[in-house]
Amino acid sequence: MPTQLLEIQGLNSLAFAMLLFLLAAGFSLIYGVGRIANLAHGTFYMLGAYVGYTVAQRTGNFWLSLVVAPLLGGALGWLVERVLLRRLRGRELDQVLLTVGLAFILADVIRAIWGADIRSSSPPAALSGLVSLFGVQYPAYQLFVICLGAVVFVAMQLVLRSPIGARLRAVTSDPQVAASLGVPTDSVAALTFAASVALAAFGGAVGGPIIALAPGLDLTMMLLALVVVVVGGLGSVAGALVGAIIVAVVNGFGTLLYPEYAPFLIFALMVVVLGFRPQGLLGRRG
């Protein structure tokens, strides 16, 4: 196998890992704050992707789509938390089922608006070319996605260390104690949910030029996010990043070396982690 091919596949995997990270980090945060497993998370990714696609098509401005998709996603997430999920606080199972119902509803709505044809958006003109990197020609857009993921990771670390982040961490570790200390747990929960959904929708808009859009993408992405958090460990942003990179690398090189078995390699990875470290690589027990 020529090293150039390996290098390109490595970079591709890293770009894919960043999309998975945007998805899994939000999933993980929502679980941490409200013990909600949001099975509509892949749907929010897909919604962001379609909205981004349409905005870029209509306005001809790709960058605008990266703003509109997360704003819309954030507003929707805030609404869902305030109107629906909040009534079910503390009822973990009912909350999961509610998100499943939401995923079903949105899947039909998205299909009604955008149809079932496969669509893919194109990267903005400025990033549509190739760049030379360590001797290989590599798409500039993929490189941009890798940098973007790194920026989001650093930004999330900074936010988590800020006063707002401290409240979030307080609610994650013990909601009752946090509430008794005057942390507004309701606002923290709503804000976290909105921000996480915005992140998923942002991921969708960013991923448009990389992963083609079609019905069924919601479930695919949700399952990938699930595998990422199982591997990396729920409840930590670093775990989401590590999990995303491992899953994307296994997926990328699996597709390259054993195309027939690629989908199974990810599950095999999950099974191995579950067997030896049920809490995930960076997760804590309990």
Binding site: A37, L97, V100, G101, I105
Partner: protein
């Protein structure tokens, strides 16, 4: 007391109605009645997990689909023999449950739900990729059984009743009581010497096998097997049925399946584009408004 009598009357009425159905029903109505019965078998099995073992599985489509594919493949090689396909479907689904249970049962609550979903998607991916065996996205035609639609319906009813009777006996036995003790407080059950894992393990395997039986019937009923049978939508649908009927009552699964299949038939007669939407609305309505399902509304003492 009043509620026990009401329950008995409703159950007897249901059984009589089910036995009389083929005399009254033909064509599409008989088709729907059969659909109700075979989904009821799968819903009852899921209720064993949700209601009695405390295991909320979102991966039942795997067992349902394995049963269906087993029926198609066995029919193609050994001819359409219902006894053979039922045995094969039960065995294959139970085997998959037996293999995955040690991993899924390491987690509880919503983790269990997520892991079972992931394993079910593994079956989906296998059916999608392994074209030579499963027909991939084309699916497989199932050789028609040498029996009338009425006979097939009665067979399905017989199987449903057998499943309910067996499970009721099992749940009243010491093993069934132990299973409930484990659900209510696993730590205490362990402390009193119960092998908590094994009770959950066998409940999971048994429920998997029974769901496989439902899949076999489904394959023979439609004479076709496809990826839709292993789709996670099926797992959600079964969970909706159990919740509609009310958990911790095996008959609740039957009621839930009846209500859901009829509701779905009514919706698809109106529109073919908004089925998922409707299922989603029903699911959200259940979790928001009825905490314990329709069956609990019936048996609640007035």
């Amino acid at each position: 007391m009043a509620s026990t009598v009401t329950r008995r009357i409703i159950i007897v009425a249901l059984v009589v109605l089910a036995a009389l159905a083929p005399a009254l029903l033909h064509g599409y109505a008989l088709y729907l009645a059969t659909e109700v019965v075979l989904y009821a078998i799968a819903a009852v099995a899921l209720d064993l997990l949700v209601g009695y073992a405390g295991l909320v599985s979102l991966g039942q489509a795997a067992f349902f689909g394995l049963g269906a594919y087993a029926a198609a493949i066995v029919s193609a090689h050994a001819g359409p023999n219902i006894a053979l396909t039922l045995a094969a479907g039960f065995a294959l689904a139970a085997l998959f449950a037996a293999i995955t249970a040690p991993l899924t049962l390491r987690s509880a609550g919503i983790f269990f739900l997520m892991i079972t979903l992931a394993f079910a998607q593994l079956v989906w991916a296998t059916a999608d990729k392994w074209h030579a065996v499963s027909g991939g996205s084309d699916g497989l035609t199932v050789t028609k059984l040498p029996m009338s639609d009425t006979a097939f319906y009665l067979l399905a009813v017989g199987l449903l009743l057998a499943v309910i009777v067996v499970l009721q006996r099992l749940l009243r036995s010491p093993a069934g009581l132990a299973l409930e003790a484990v659900r209510e407080n696993e730590t205490r059950a362990r402390a009193s010497g119960l092998a908590a894992f094994w009770y959950k393990y066998w409940a999971f395997v048994l429920a998997g096998g029974i769901t496989g039986l439902a899949g076999v019937l489904h394959a023979h009923h439609r004479n076709f097997v496809s990826l839709a049978d292993v789709d996670w939508t099926n797992s959600v649908v079964l969970l909706v049925m159990v919740l509609l009927g009310g958990v911790r009552s095996l008959w609740g699964g039957v009621i839930g399946a009846t209500v859901f299949v009829l509701l779905q038939a009514w919706i698809s007669s109106k529109t073919d584009k908004w089925e998922m939407f409707a299922i989603g609305v029903v699911l959200i309505a259940i979790v928001l408004f009825t905490r314990r399902g329709l069956w609990s509304l019936v048996t609640r003492n007035a």
